[in-house]
């Protein structure tokens, strides 16, 4: 689960991690009021969206007067920002963070992540602050430093020292930076984070260490033990169909194509998308109905697929293992009838009770096409959708 920068900074404050003075603002008036209260010559107006790369997309403006704050806030609020992380459709800005400007001497990079290769928690640091760390790692790997933490004994002081020496923190700020790293680790572990990132971490003219930007993402699997964090979820940042799907325990992700897919199993769902692509079609979504799909779940899944106006055809691909094909067939028939399906539907069933399932489909009186393999199913739906587009 992702949260906004201003929320991440509020959490950091609780862990004694220094952040700039800042105020969360929803309107231009609030932004102006916040800027006035800061009595600072320079103020940053920052778009709050769940995506990185805001600066380059025009979502962060430095203002040197109240007039500039006003015009920046007007420009950014309501604007759609397109960054490499938002996808081509971009994200609308509904919230701002107004922050006091800082006298920046140097920028660093610092993050804690769960590392797959060592199965542990890792700190990543670099003197190349404010840059995309993946790019730094790609082009100058010697500038990226890692410390692997043995979580059974926790972060050790020598690791903190080594990292800070490696990235070149000056002596005057060393103690403050050490405390920050230790507090960041505590924040990470206490809250089951996937990532805590400060980019840039800045050294100010008066040798203070401050988190200028902040990103925190939590492990969704652990939220049952962090009920307080659930309040930070911003549903307006999420896809409405993805929210609806999660209510029905369906795993759904919106894509940009026109063929809706309903599949059991995440791996097979991805493979089905690939197969559609192979035949020249384009999937509208990823949808895993899971192992225990019922008639009701299948109906909900169809509703979600059809709520996407781009969908011009649907491919159902089920490999019934534990899930029986006849149950799925009944669900498909019921859903198609209830929803008065108008787009072509191809159903590929395989596995347990497949003959019974096929019989239910063929006797349903519905205008659906059966397929006996993944290739046949994908090629048929692509052809149907493409032919229709030509007509």
């Amino acid at each position: 689960m992702n949260i906004h920068e201003y929320q991440a900074k509020n959490i950091m404050k609780k862990y004694n991690i220094p952040v700039p003075n800042g105020v969360h603002a929803l309107t231009v008036e609030d932004a102006l009021k916040a800027a006035k209260s800061m009595e600072s010559a320079v103020v940053a107006v920052k778009a709050q969206i769940h995506a990185g790369g805001r600066g380059k997309a025009g979502g962060v403006k430095i203002a040197k007067s109240l007039e500039e704050v006003e015009s920046a806030a007007k420009n950014i609020l309501g604007a759609t920002l397109v960054t490499p992380q938002t996808g081509p459709e971009g994200k609308v800005v509904n919230q701002l963070l107004i922050e006091q400007g800082l006298d920046i001497e140097k920028e660093y990079y610092l993050s804690f992540i769960v590392d797959r290769s060592t199965s542990g928690v890792v700190i990543i640091g670099s003197a190349e602050g404010g840059m995309d760390i993946e790019e730094v790692a790609e082009h100058s790997p010697e500038k990226v430093f890692k410390e692997v933490i043995d979580t059974s004994v926790g972060l050790q002081e020598f690791q903190v020292r080594r990292l800070l020496f490696n990235i070149g923190i000056p002596k005057e700020a060393f103690k403050e930076a050490s405390m920050l790293v230790i507090n960041m680790y505590k924040l990470f572990m206490d809250n089951d984070c996937n990532i805590v990132e400060i980019n840039p971490l800045v050294l100010t003219g008066d040798k203070r260490i401050i988190a200028l930007d902040a990103k925190i993402s939590f492990d969704s699997n652990s939220l049952y033990r962090h009920k307080d964090l659930l309040e930070l979820r911003d549903l307006t940042e999420e896809d409405p169909r993805e929210i609806e799907a999660s209510k029905h325990d369906l795993s759904y992700i919106s894509l940009t194509g026109n063929i809706g897919c309903m599949v059991n199993g995440a791996g097979l769902a991805m493979a089905t998308m690939d197969m559609i692509d192979y035949y020249g079609g384009s999937p509208a979504n990823f949808l895993d109905v899971g192992g225990g799909a019922t008639k009701e779940k299948v109906t909900e899944a169809f509703k979600i697929l059809l709520s996407d106006s781009n969908v011009k055809g649907i491919l159902v691909n089920i490999f019934g293992g534990i899930m029986k094909c006849d149950i799925i067939a009944e669900g498909v028939v019921a859903a198609a009838k209830e929803l008065d399906l108008k787009v072509p539907l191809v159903v590929r069933l395989e596995g347990t009770n497949v003959e019974l399932g096929k019989k239910i489909l063929s006797e349903s009186g519905l205008d659906l096409i059966a397929a006996s393999s993944l290739a046949e199913g994908a090629s048929k739906i692509v052809k149907l959708v493409n032919d229709k587009a030509v007509m």
Partner: protein, 299 residues
């Protein structure tokens, strides 16, 4: 022969009285799996399906000599269940549970480091040695006993592969689901090693997906060490970046973990990669014929 499990395996089920645990225990018994014990705290002394239930894994092991455990407990209790099984000296623990917090898995990995227990999963379909032992949630009937090993990060895609093999008359030695989580107990290389050393396995199908670099590492290992043909399929060519595709581990992050990179590395290392999920069976047939072992693999 086979790897990991056989008809000698004595299975303990942790979470045997829950709906999922019970259903799959019934299925496994029907398949012929030797289930010797179940564990559910406070249900010790009772029985389900003729299987004795114990309060602790230790007690169950002492009484029944179970050597492999399968875990069906809910995600919030699963890490504890894995550690309990390891502490009781279990050789192999297969964790089916999906949704375990990742920091719990970090803890589990550290706990297992100096212990002999091998963990498979979590978030996996389990392991099957056809006609001998089925541990997990896979449909037993699609499998045929034979000589091709299968290892996969995905459940249903494994069934798809096995089905494509069985309908072509190609049997399987063992099929192993290593799971879709970012941190798991056993990786591709561990399983490939076992298949390489297993006299009854002549070739391997490896099914990967986007996210992480386990497939690339496996590719390099195969190039250096594998004496048997390996064919692969990688799911997620069309997956967008930064989105988790169902599995917690299936995400392209920072431009890393893309299907195209994995496929390129595998091919560079001499692994035949199926271009589509529908051609996994055909691709294996081609590899078997290239190596003159096709006839040997037919059952």
């Amino acid at each position: 022969m086979s790897i990991l499990i056989s008809k000698e395996t004595k299975v303990l089920v942790q979470g045997i009285t829950g709906a999922t645990g019970l259903f799959h225990t019934q299925q496994a018994i029907k398949y012929g799996t030797n289930i010797v014990a179940g564990v559910t705290p406070f249900k010790g002394g009772t029985q389900v399906e003729g299987v004795p239930i114990f309060n602790t894994v230790k007690e169950a092991v002492n009484e029944t000599k179970a050597n492999v455990s399968v875990i069906y407990v809910p995600p919030q209790f699963a890490a504890d269940a894995i550690m309990e099984a390891a502490d009781a000296g279990m050789e192999l623990v297969i964790c089916i549970t999906e949704g375990i917090p990742v920091l719990d898995m970090v803890k589990v990995k550290a706990y297992l480091k100096d212990r002999k227990t091998r963990l498979i999963g979590p978030n996996c379909p389990g392991v099957i040695t056809p006609d001998e032992c089925k541990i997990g949630i896979m449909p037993g009937y699609i499998h045929k006993k034979g000589h091709v090993g299968v290892v996969s990060r995905s459940g249903t895609l494994t069934y798809e592969a096995v089905h494509q093999l069985s309908t072509r008359g190609i049997g399987q030695s063992t099929a192993v689901g290593i799971g879709g989580d970012p941190i798991n107990g056993t990786d591709f290389i561990d399983v490939l090693k076992m298949f390489n050393e297993d006299d009854d396995t002549y070739a391997v199908v490896m099914i990967g997906e986007i996210g992480g670099s386990a497939e690339e590492e496996a590719a390099y290992w195969i190039k250096e060490n594998m004496t048997k043909p390996v064919v692969a399929f990688i799911g997620g060519k069309t997956a967008p970046p930064s989105k988790r595709m169902g599995h917690a581990g299936a995400v392209i992050s920072g431009g890393k973990g893309k299907a195209s990179d994995k496929i390129a590395t595998l091919e560079e290392c001499g692994v035949l990669v199926a271009p589509t999920p529908d051609s996994m069976g055909e691709t294996l047939v081609k590899a078997l014929k290239n190596n003159n072992i096709f006839e040997k693999c037919l059952v």
